[in-house]
Symmetry: C2
Subunit: 754 residues, 2 copies
């Protein structure tokens, strides 16, 4: 028989050892912590110290009987576990030790084990068969404080905006018929215009404050009210207004921008055609200039060449129409022209035909339509002429001579919209997560036979694993999009190609993430999630199309990958011999890392949580994918495969690169941001979120990392365990984390969380 | 310079070699095929033969210059590629060889390369810069024939049923208001009832034909009409009728079953409560027997104890109510009781309160409601008494003494509903796939600059990879569910525990699969997929809840895993020493396989396509997961962790086992089925679908296989390539494959495919 009557000095260690060995918690750095505390514990005799040391060998763990004996000591103790104690486990240990009577001789340093091993009540309370005094949410962190950190300079303005949304105009209700829903959303957009929220991104002289970042945050906040509102708001102020602002010149701004910002002039952004969505350059609508009339004729030539899915089509009185500009018989490529759609009595202009797109999966508050133009004439001045103009003498002029470059410069000015789409999707994900988490903190189902109350579903490990990593990702993406928008709207950066690549990749990754997350939240709420009143259903149907509009995700990822490749090639070409050497040497370094088992199987906690490891893993993946992709394409071309076909053959490789690149970019941005947080307590929390993001990303692509020998089996498993453990560790703070999203209380109308 | 003037005999090989080396197509078995043909080619001189051999070394491939030279020969030839030739590449080669003038001396065996390497026009036509005469769909297979094979004995009945669905009652339209939609669906259900389709699974004396398998197929076919119809049909005839049939006795059958089958008596299946969904055993509604009145009192005790999400609640006049049966003060556990809800004038019965659940994400044609009972009295005879009865003397009697066993026996009779749910979800996936594929065969976007017409999106590799594996999976799951339903409804099998485990696992896996597939199809159709008229949107919102109802997927997978574990344990326990030995020896065999690099890195085509490899991979995974799971739980329990908590700690392991088990089961069933197909041509097609299913499954879980050393890096990459190649190989037949689902033409109303 094992010794079962321990001294008080030993007894105080028993709960720790029980937890450690029930869960195989130990890694090398953790053994060191416990060992140090034992070593410096003045209450222990040498024999006792030796006994404790024998329980610290990972290779020779204590026998089952011993561990089971500990379990019995704990459950027979009658001691209660109080989760709201500062150090619950340490208090529990103290009480256990004093049971033996006599002087308990408590070692005050014991709490360091609790802190350093990151042991949280929800890690162990289910291991003890003792009464637990639970707390649903820890008050160690504050949701409000987290939100302030996240919003930074815009915190106050957004708080006001959040309060403004409590206006009855913005209250949520089921809307099933097109007309009623569209009218309501129109009123909301007009209300926002009147209050100056539409013009945020415009210059001051047109009622704005020149702040695109704040505009994008407002756009995201509107998702908490309704997806249709968000999109109609974006069509009016971002797409229509933005096209006038960015593709037009002063005359257009003076004439239209103020009215647009106030929603007095409603308009459309007519780019997509039935026959041409992703391939904008191939659109068929023509804009032919006639010298005699000094007018431009807009025309829809064929059956599938009408504009489609155009938002505001039933309310708008004007449209920015994208068309092939033909001057003196020559096609100068796609340009944007302002075309009146309706007169002041709201009658369609001659030659304009508009048809309702009808019911959609979601966003039914947005009036999408199809538009045909039959030889519609507009004055020459209506050409948005910043990048290409027709001079009074009837000749075409552009400062950008290369038509290809001109096309991409024009489209580039519209990239802000893509950031907004990603932000909107993210807002939807946050809302769904907040609802699912708050529901899981109320809903109980199943229990241990010894308990009376059923368990909160938030306390199930599978539920934690379902909801916590997406919360961490939401934080990382939020910070990334903020940074991207700042770069994008920084006028001192003139070459926007890099940010365009970044936006393309992140729009795809984030909108997919949002859809998956909302789906996960729907399922996590069971049948309740299926009811419209609980809001997740609408989020699901509204956010769905975010993966398609403003650029189909699959197309965007390929676009991004091509951008990365061309950077890589131009680096190689311009850098010459030195660059080649550099690349070759980094290839060699990669290989060295990859074949070093000390690295590929390093599973120590400190290493796995270290941002340096994560960054290296992401950087390594992007570089390897870029290099191997470039080589594959080169190979094909050398063998005589036409370039267009060579790119087709590497499509899935391109998609992988686009994803890897976004991940690296997002994480790097987040780490830089985290380091800048002044308050240590919250910085630690953000670091933990970053680690969870990174480990989850590696876990999701573990196949690739294993295939390339970057991680070994043991490390792969350890990463999965760490994701599970971090999710559990964050459980006491999960409500604070969703509160940190800052969703106004009056927007969280779902009855399941009230 | 390389030799560029090849003889006719060599020239005829050039297109093959070009394709082989442009794509790195060669594996060992493929080299053997080509080598054999060269060896036996009488048109070749010895020198020519030697030259061709030098182009067959995988380790020393021909130089780029050589390959590029081939490309030039081909593009300068002016020869057209005609895809509708029987052997397009061979005809092309012949024409190329005869260009040189003189006697072309064609080797008639060349077509064997084309056949054996599985080279299809869409593998190579993009590699040639020559004019291609394309065909959109090959007529090698027939969709109708495939469908006949799939439907087997029920083919004719289902064909009739499909035609019946052309009745105007079943035409699709947008339905946005609850009342109108519900009325329409009610009419449809009544129409089906009148025609005898509701009673299919009932005995002949009640209007049926005792055919549950046919019933399930009809259920699936209804998904092609509308999801709400499917579910309301299932509630009325499957759940309500099924509960009377399976839990009731002859008196209930005689009194109700005929009327139920004809939809003259509409009813509900009232099991789920607001407070208790997944945990049925914990429901709170009580059914208390009173001796004095010889009646049972149904009562909703608390705030959250009402029935919820009950289908037919607004139209039904009766409900099978699940409640805790209390006789003489003793709770005998959950039983089912028939409770009238409305009188003949459609007024609610005293004590019954019903509330509309309101708008849902989808299935708005189903009238779901909440039901409260306030001391509602029904006669003793209303107890569905097959497994537990109240005798005339007022005492409780059940042949199954163990309450636990009784509960699971009762629930077990309802497992057929779960198979139907999986079939319905699968029907939704098939419909979405058919629409997405047919759209992709019409829609063009982008092109190579040298072509006038843009490419069909179905010809993009990423699109093929998106849609083809789910088609293969749909075939596998269809066959699996057919087999499951046959086992389930086989009365000679009395112990249904195994089939229950199987159904639990497959319901989860298939409903998740359906949701992912429908989402993929929505995105694959871009903006068009978002319009309700194109049908995918409704499928998405309807099928969503299939992951939750009839058992939450996460809960079901855990249930299945526990079933597998208990089989494993009882096998060990009953088998004694021999079983332990057997297990140990299979463990050792596993290890041997795992460490054998000849196996874990075997990448030859024949091996990768071999069902033996797939089956071993699936079997190995299930066994290892079962064994390690059993050991982990044993460990926890040995250490003193309470069993309930031990299971919580292995939740994600349980989910993994449930999934692995379904995959193995589905594949094994499919292989057995495939082997039974008599016609060789179609058998080969089904084999290819099986291989695609298996390789895609291994690919999706490659992390696990790599972690366990079962496959090495090279094999993992080779599997991914094979999935891509198989998807491309099936491209010419993809329309036949979706036609093989047998969706009636009149149900495919989506305008994008008309």
């Amino acid at each position: 028989m094992e010794k079962t009557n321990y001294s008080s000095s030993i007894l105080q260690y028993i709960p720790y050892f029980f937890i450690i060995w029930s869960d195989d918690l130990l890694s090398v750095s953790e053994v060191a912590v416990v060992r140090r505390i034992i070593k410096n514990d003045p209450t222990l005799s040498e024999d006792e110290r030796e006994l404790l040391y024998t329980w610290l060998h990972k290779e020779a763990p204590p026998k089952w009987k011993v561990i089971k004996n500990w379990a019995e000591i704990i459950s027979n103790s009658g001691v209660k576990l109080n989760e709201s104690d500062t150090y619950p486990l340490t208090s529990f240990s103290k009480k256990l030790a004093s049971l033996n009577g006599g002087d308990p001789s408590i070692n005050e340093k014991l709490s360091e084990i609790e802190i350093n091993l990151g042991i949280q009540p929800n890690h162990y309370n289910h291991l003890f068969e003792v009464e637990v005094q639970k707390e649903k949410t820890s008050n160690y962190y504050s949701g409000k404080e987290i939100h302030q950190i996240l919003m930074g300079e815009h915190n106050q303005q957004l708080e006001h905006f959040g309060e403004f949304l409590s206006h009855p105009n913005f209250s949520w209700e089921v809307n099933r018929d097109l007309d009623g829903f569209r009218k309501k959303v129109l009123t909301q957009v007009q209300h926002l215009g009147e209050k100056g929220y539409g013009a945020m991104a415009y210059p001051e002289e047109y009622g704005g404050i020149n702040n695109m970042t704040l505009y994008a945050n407002i756009f995201e906040y509107l998702m908490f009210v309704d997806g249709s509102l968000t999109i109609k708001f974006g069509v009016q102020f971002g797409l229509f207004g933005g096209s006038v602002q960015k593709l037009g010149s002063k005359k257009h701004h003076d004439q239209y921008l103020k009215n647009i910002g106030e929603a007095k002039l409603l308009g459309c952004f007519a780019m997509t055609e039935t026959g041409h969505g992703s391939n904008v350059r191939g659109i068929k609508t023509t804009a032919t200039y006639t010298r005699e009339t000094d007018a431009i004729t807009i025309h829809t030539p064929g059956k599938n060449d009408n504009k489609e899915y155009i938002g505001n089509a039933l309310h708008g009185s004007m449209a920015t129409v994208f068309a092939q500009l033909i001057v003196k018989g020559k096609n100068h490529g796609v340009h944007a022209i302002l075309v009146p759609l309706r007169d002041e009595n709201n009658n369609l202009m001659p030659g304009v035909t508009i048809e309702d797109c009808g019911y959609k999966l979601g966003l039914n508050g947005v009036d999408n339509g199809k538009i045909w133009f039959n030889q519609v004439q507009v004055p020459r001045e209506n050409l948005l002429n910043k990048y290409g103009d027709i001079k009074p003498d009837g000749s075409y002029y552009s400062a950008i001579k290369n038509p290809n470059k001109r096309f991409f410069t024009m489209l580039g000015t519209l990239v802000g919209g893509r950031i907004c789409v990603a932000k909107g999707a993210l807002g939807g994900a946050k809302m769904a997560l907040a609802i699912a988490v708050k529901y899981a903190l109320k809903r109980r189902q199943f229990n241990d036979s010894i308990k009376i109350q059923e368990d909160l579903i938030m306390d199930y490990p599978s539920h934690q694993l379902r909801l916590t990593p997406p919360i961490a990702k939401s934080y990382v993406y939020h910070v990334t999009l903020e940074a991207l928008m700042k770069t994008y709207s920084d006028d001192t950066i003139t070459d926007k190609r890099e940010v365009e690549t970044q936006v393309a990749a992140l729009k795809a990754v984030i909108t997919w993430f949002a859809n998956e997350t909302i789906q996960e939240c729907r399922e996590a709420c069971g049948g309740k999630g299926y009811l419209l009143e609980n809001r997740i259903a609408d989020l699901k149907t509204d956010v769905d199309i975010f993966t398609t509009f403003e650029g189909d995700n699959t197309v965007l990822l390929q676009l991004a990958a091509k951008g990365i490749l061309s950077n890589f090639n131009s680096e190689l070409n311009s850098g010459g011999f030195k660059a080649v050497l550099k690349m070759v040497s980094s290839q060699i370094k990669d290989k060295l890392v990859a074949i070093n088992p000390a690295y590929s199987n390093k599973v120590d906690k400190d290493h796995l949580y270290n941002p340096k490891f994560h960054q290296h893993a992401f950087d390594y993946r992007t570089r390897r994918l870029t290099y191997s992709l470039a080589m594959r394409i080169k190979d094909y071309i050398k063998r005589g495969v036409p370039p267009y076909q060579a790119f087709l053959k590497v499509q899935s490789h391109l998609l992988a690169l686009g994803k890897a690149y976004s991940c690296e970019l997002a994480y790097t941005t987040f780490v830089r941001y985290t380091d800048s947080i002044e308050d240590q307590k919250n910085r630690e929390l953000f670091k933990k979120l970053g680690a969870l993001f990174a480990l989850q990303e590696i876990r999701e692509d573990a196949t690739w990392y294993l295939e390339h020998g970057y991680i070994g089996s043991t490390k792969s498993k350890a990463i999965r365990q760490r994701v599970e453990r971090l999710s559990t560790e964050l459980r006491p703070h999960i409500e604070n984390l969703v509160d940190g999203f800052g969703i106004p209380e009056h927007c969280l109308t779902a009855p399941i969380i009230r």
